[in-house]
């Protein structure tokens, strides 16, 4: 912890205790992201464990919720840490996370602004931004891009995700093979054992959903609900596939 002005707070994670939507701040319910079914009723999400995992089909709003929380935490909705602006938003029509965050309210103990918002889709931009920032400062950059995607991801997680903070991961598995996902599970274990890291993660990877001690939430059109790994569509599909890969694929392609 050699950075100036950074002190570890002697309270265990989770630091973000609750996030909810303030209806008075929603101008138009028909507009995205407020038209998502998850926001139709009261949206209220409580964090009781250091690690929370959100699963759900594409389009249900997982990433949007993470973006909203990330902006509340002080991160850019494109990814990065506090104060990072890795992506030029000048051409963007709208920023979903930013819009949502204006209508979200949060309860913290204490308010933590360190950590990281990791999005697979912007990792390249963030990594390049880090290299350029280091070059401008006359120091050697972290150079996460001189590796395969998976190795770059893992090295990034190892180097950036073990200090006190709130870490938001949007589909971290996207470049990770099953073996690398095991490495990622080990990192989650180290983060949990440190007691100073809060993780909120959206994933499609059953292996990551299986992390013990995490709160697993399933996002459906009906809202967020606690789930068990074996009940998730992701696990059921993977199980069916593993039982009979050829039969599974044949049947899936016949259904088309």
């Amino acid at each position: 912890m050699s950075r100036k002005g950074y002190r570890t707070i002697n309270l265990p994670a989770p630091y973000l205790k609750r996030v909810w939507l303030d209806p008075s701040q929603v101008r138009d319910r028909a507009e995205y992201p407020f038209c998502l079914p998850i926001f139709a009723d009261d949206f209220d999400l409580q964090f009781e464990a250091p690690i929370t995992i959100i699963v759900g089909e594409n389009g249900t709003g997982k990433s949007t919720i993470l973006e909203g929380i990330a902006v509340l935490a002080g991160y850019d909705d494109a990814g990065g840490g506090k104060g990072y602006r890795p992506v030029d938003h000048s051409e963007a029509l709208e920023k979903m996370g930013g819009q949502l965050s204006k209508a979200l309210r949060a309860s913290w103990l204490p308010k933590i602004t360190h950590g990281w918002f990791f999005r697979a889709e912007s990792f390249f931009s963030v990594a390049r931004y880090l290299d350029e920032a280091a070059r401008d400062a006359g120091v050697r950059g972290p150079d996460f891009l001189s590796h395969s995607h998976g190795e770059g991801f893992l090295r990034f997680f190892e180097e950036r995700c073990q200090r006190q903070g709130i870490f938001i991961f949007d589909e971290p598995e996207s470049a990770l093979s099953p073996s690398r996902q095991i490495e990622f599970l080990k990192l989650l274990r180290r983060m949990e054992e440190s007691r100073i890291c809060q993780v909120i993660m959206a994933t499609h990877a059953p292996m990551l959903m299986a992390y013990p001690n995490a709160t697993l939430l399933r996002l459906t059109k009906a809202g967020l609900e606690p789930a068990k790994l074996r009940e998730t569509d992701h696990f059921k599909l993977m199980r069916e596939f593993c039982d009979d890969p050829s039969g599974f694929i044949d049947a899936a392609l016949r259904d088309e």
Partner: protein, 73 residues
């Protein structure tokens, strides 16, 4: 659309038939990606496939046990 001179060929895929490394153009075998130990097309593909399928099957049989054993290592 408005483009001209785009004709569909009547030949069937695959169109890319072969990719190979020209060893004379590799300046530094220690640098990435040339340092990667790809030992041959067939063997490398088989190894990757077996590795992934094995891990996934083990996991599906007993997710909790698999993860606990993994984290206990």
């Amino acid at each position: 659309m408005g483009r001209t001179r785009r004709r569909q060929t009547t030949l069937s895929a695959p169109y890319l038939r072969r990719v190979r490394l020209d060893r004379t153009l590799v300046e530094d075998w220690e640098a990435y990606p040339f340092c990667l130990r790809v030992q041959g097309r067939v063997r490398s593909q088989l190894r990757v496939r077996c590795d992934h399928a094995g891990v996934m099957r083990e996991f599906c049989d007993d997710p909790r046990g698999f993860v606990e054993a993994t984290l206990g290592e």
